[in-house]
């Protein structure tokens, strides 16, 4: 804390619009924030960067009043708020914090105008803006910002870009002193990105504090006055733009580079398994081979989900052809919803993935399940994969996130699959949990009957450290990354290239 004040340097308390210190928040056993701090000053664009899972979204959710912190301090304009209690989104608004969400907080069936009016009264008091004055303000804002949206159409009929413009307009209408934007450029076309960054600078110049969360470093460096880097829930770097380079920021984000070294490659055998998929008629064919891990890197929302589900046989391809082996293991991204049933016990959750297997069926026409066998198998899986649980009869929901994922991995990999599809398998896990998953995937390659593995991940380091071949997935198109370019920069460049 004392060092913080020193690090803040010349700033006088009055300049600081939002100060966050020693913020902590855990979700069950998963620690999302572990002493994060941040200082956004009036008149500046402040960038908050970090890897996926570094805690950026959690921090923003707390700042916007959606989540309660476990510990820590938030000061707005020098006054402490929300000490020891949750504060509401409404309070956040009324303290002048305006939030542009990554997932837009717009009501789909209301028109743009209705969405703009929504809640203004709550923030500004009284009966809100008369429609005429709203119109005037809007006109002025549109002129100043160049943000134009059709306001009389229901939001559900607008494009993603239009919805974002609406969301920003909505926040600006409330005239916030601190403007927070969560990954705002990820849905915009390049010329729009330029416009947005210019707008952010203008808004800061008017005396606002602008807090920008982003993952594209070049954009961040172009626009930010100050930068805060989060890693594993902690603030690891706070600096002015002039004090850092792209390289130093990237290093701060990644941390100990040694821990992420790729392992020695196992022997790869070719043949046996073929899975083909094309996202479009002109999509690239993807061929998976036994004993090989193919990594697919990409920013979220580029078709990862469809790719993973199609190759796992859980969805049918709109076009193209998929040839799948009989046994496909699937480690879905959202284990709580898609991989497990929380109210079921562990045996039942193992049965969920195994119920079609003739070995566990019995009775006339195989109508019944061999529960005793399944229970024994579950016991063996718990033991063999080190799932920390009281026993096969424990409810899945009572396990920690890491142990839930261990159970899913154990169930999926145990059945001697010929193809393994893993979608962001370490998301939300702590270090030990992530290492377990990585080791389990690597171990597959050394099996006698090694399966083909497809790893779809938004965590570039995970892909780099595990995969034998790497593809980028941008807007539904797969492009292979040549062996020589398998570095962060190389893959990143490929991803940028693929953008129109």
């Amino acid at each position: 804390m004392k060092e913080d004040a020193a690090a803040a340097g010349t700033a006088t308390p009055r300049d600081v619009a939002v100060r966050i210190s020693e913020l902590r928040r855990a979700f069950g056993p998963v620690v999302a924030l572990d002493g994060a701090r941040l200082e956004a000053r009036a008149g500046e664009v402040h960038a908050l960067v970090g890897e996926n899972g570094a805690g950026k979204t959690t921090l923003l959710s707390i700042l916007a009043g959606h989540l309660r912190p476990d510990a820590g301090r938030i000061e707005v304009d020098g006054r402490p708020v929300a000490e020891g209690r949750a504060w509401s989104a409404r309070e956040a608004w009324s303290l002048g914090i305006g939030m542009v969400h990554q997932h837009f907080a717009l009501v789909p069936r209301l028109t743009g105008r209705e969405n703009l009016m929504l809640g203004v009264r709550r923030v500004r008091g009284g009966w809100g803006l008369p429609t005429r004055r709203l119109g005037e303000r809007l006109g002025r804002l549109e002129l100043e910002t160049g943000l134009r949206v059709d306001l009389d159409t229901p939001v559900e009929a607008l494009t993603i870009g239009e919805r974002q413009r609406l969301e920003i307009l909505k926040v600006l209408l409330r005239d916030p002193r601190t403007l927070v934007l969560d990954e705002p450029t990820s849905v915009l076309a390049p010329p729009e990105v330029e416009g947005l960054l210019a707008l952010l600078r203008r808004l800061a110049a008017e005396g606002r504090a602008v807090l920008l969360v982003a993952h594209k470093l070049d954009e961040v460096l172009e626009v930010a006055d100050r930068i805060t880097v989060l890693r594993a829930g902690r603030t690891v770097l706070e600096a002015a733009r002039g004090e850092v380079t792209a390289r130093s920021v990237a290093e701060a984000m990644v941390g100990d580079a040694g821990a992420l070294d790729a392992p020695a490659r196992a022997e790869v055998r070719v043949g046996e398994v073929r899975a083909r998929w094309s996202a479009r008629a002109d999509g690239t064919d993807l061929e998976l081979r036994a004993g090989e891990i193919v990594g697919v890197a990409g920013v979220e929302g580029n078709g990862q989900r469809a790719l993973a589900r199609t190759l796992a046989g859980r969805a049918t391809a709109a076009e193209g052809r998929v040839e799948l082996p009989e046994r496909v293991a699937y480690i879905p991204q959202d284990r709580g919803r898609e991989g497990l049933i929380g109210s079921f016990d562990l045996t039942e959750n193992v049965a969920l993935g195994r119920h079609g297997d003739p070995g566990v069926r019995t009775g006339p026409f195989g109508l019944a399940l061999r529960w005793r066998l399944l229970r024994e198998e579950t016991g063996a899986l718990i033991e063999g994969y080190g799932v920390r649980a009281p026993g096969p009869g424990a409810r899945a929901a009572s396990l920690s996130g890491g142990n839930q994922q261990r159970l899913v991995v154990a169930r999926e990999l145990h059945g001697r699959p010929r193809l393994v599809v893993a979608e962001n398998p370490t998301r939300g896990l702590d270090v030990a949990g992530a290492r377990f998953v990585h080791d389990a995937l690597r171990e597959l390659r050394s099996r006698d009957d090694a399966p083909a593995t497809l790893l779809v991940s938004t965590d570039l380091d995970e892909v780099l450290s595990l995969a034998d071949r790497i593809f980028t997935l941008v807007r539904g198109r797969l492009v292979e990354v040549p062996a020589a370019e398998r570095t962060r920069e190389g893959v990143g460049a490929r991803m940028l290239e693929a953008l129109p």
């Binding site: 989540l67 046989g313 879905p332 898609e338 929380g342 109210s343 969920l352």
Partner: protein
């Protein structure tokens, strides 16, 4: 979500009895006399047990099972009432038309017809749910009224008794009467049938793959689809129809076992009470036997309570309602944040 902890139903029932006793005391009734009359009316004699308590529990048991089955799969079928009417009408029609057949042949036909009619009555909501995602709560509710009015139309028209005076049908031929289960009382074999259905449903949930998958689509529809590879729409539709069939069976059992005629208001709302029966049983088919008998006993006892202690019959409904509210509040999930 609606499967309370095991003590939830006990708390609910205890709370209900306590609140109603208090209300009765405040209302100037003699509570201990009222409770004694309640007990005598429900369990005081062989007749009370068989001809009142158990006989009244049969339609509650079958519709309770129908609701438990649907709710287990995450289907909000609140149309058991209408499905019961559909089954009653179809069962009556077959029994009436097949009067010349011997009972061992006719009765299975009657019951089969009621199963099918109940399923047909559930088919439209099931189809709309799986095709368009239309909320089944409103569609099943609407069809209850359609069934009620169509039954009324039939007993004043095509199926009316020959003299055309009363809003009821002619009596069923004896071949279509369900045999007595407990000699000397009114308890018919429909009770055994319902117990058998509960046992079968329990075994299906407990042992079979289908039962397991039904629970899976109810508890975790996404996981069932993604991890379990279940075609959940198809399975849910099948469960919906089966639920309707069970409720339809309740209608035919009531008509052939008790009423032996078709009335326009043959059910006092069993299909709605069934929701309370199923919920109090935590959707467990074996426990539905217990809660259905409990509700049957309450209703049988309430009649006695009204006769000898002057306590209005309607108090029973209040007990049922408070018990359900108690369970709901005990079962609620804590919300995050």
């Amino acid at each position: 979500m609606i499967r309370a902890r095991w003590w939830g139903p006990l708390v609910g029932v205890g709370l209900a009895l306590a609140i109603t006793s208090l209300a009765l005391a405040l209302g100037g009734y003699d509570v201990s006399a009222a409770l004694a009359a309640l007990w005598r009316g429900a369990f005081g004699s062989e007749q009370a047990i068989a001809s009142f308590t158990l006989k009244r529990s049969v339609p509650l048991l079958l519709t309770g099972l129908a609701v438990a089955l649907a709710f287990r799969a995450g289907i909000w079928n609140i149309g058991a009432e209408g499905q019961l009417y559909a089954g009653a009408v179809a069962g009556f029609a077959v029994g009436f038309a097949g009067g010349g057949l011997p009972a061992p042949l006719l009765l299975p036909l009657v019951l089969l017809a009621s199963l099918m009619a109940g399923a047909v009555w559930a088919a439209l909501p099931a189809l709309l749910r799986s095709r368009n995602g239309t909320n089944e709560v409103i569609t099943t509710l609407l069809l209850n009224f359609v069934a009620l009015h169509l039954t009324g139309w039939l007993v004043q028209g095509a199926l009316q008794e020959p003299r055309g005076v009363f809003n009821e049908s002619a009596p069923l031929p004896t071949a279509a009467h369900l045999p007595t289960l407990w000699p000397g009382t009114d308890l018919h074999i429909g009770f055994a049938l319902a117990i058998g259905a509960a046992g079968a449903l329990w075994a299906i949930f407990r042992f079979t793959r289908a039962g397991f998958l039904i629970r899976a689509i109810g508890e975790g529809p996404e996981a069932a689809r993604i991890t379990g590879g279940v075609r959940s729409n198809r399975l849910a539709t099948a469960v919906f129809l089966a639920s309707g069939a069970l409720a339809g069976l309740a209608g035919a059992v009531q008509v052939t076992g008790v009423d032996r005629k078709l009335y326009d208001a043959l059910s006092p709302g069993w299909g709605y009470t069934a929701i309370a029966v199923a919920l109090l049983a935590r959707l467990n088919p074996l426990a539905v036997i217990a809660t259905a008998i409990f509700f049957g006993a309450l209703q049988a006892g309430a009649a006695g309570m009204q006769r000898s202690a002057g306590v209005p019959f309607a108090w029973v409904t209040v007990v049922e309602a408070i018990a359900v509210l108690g369970v709901l509040i005990a079962a609620r999930e804590r919300t995050p944040r």
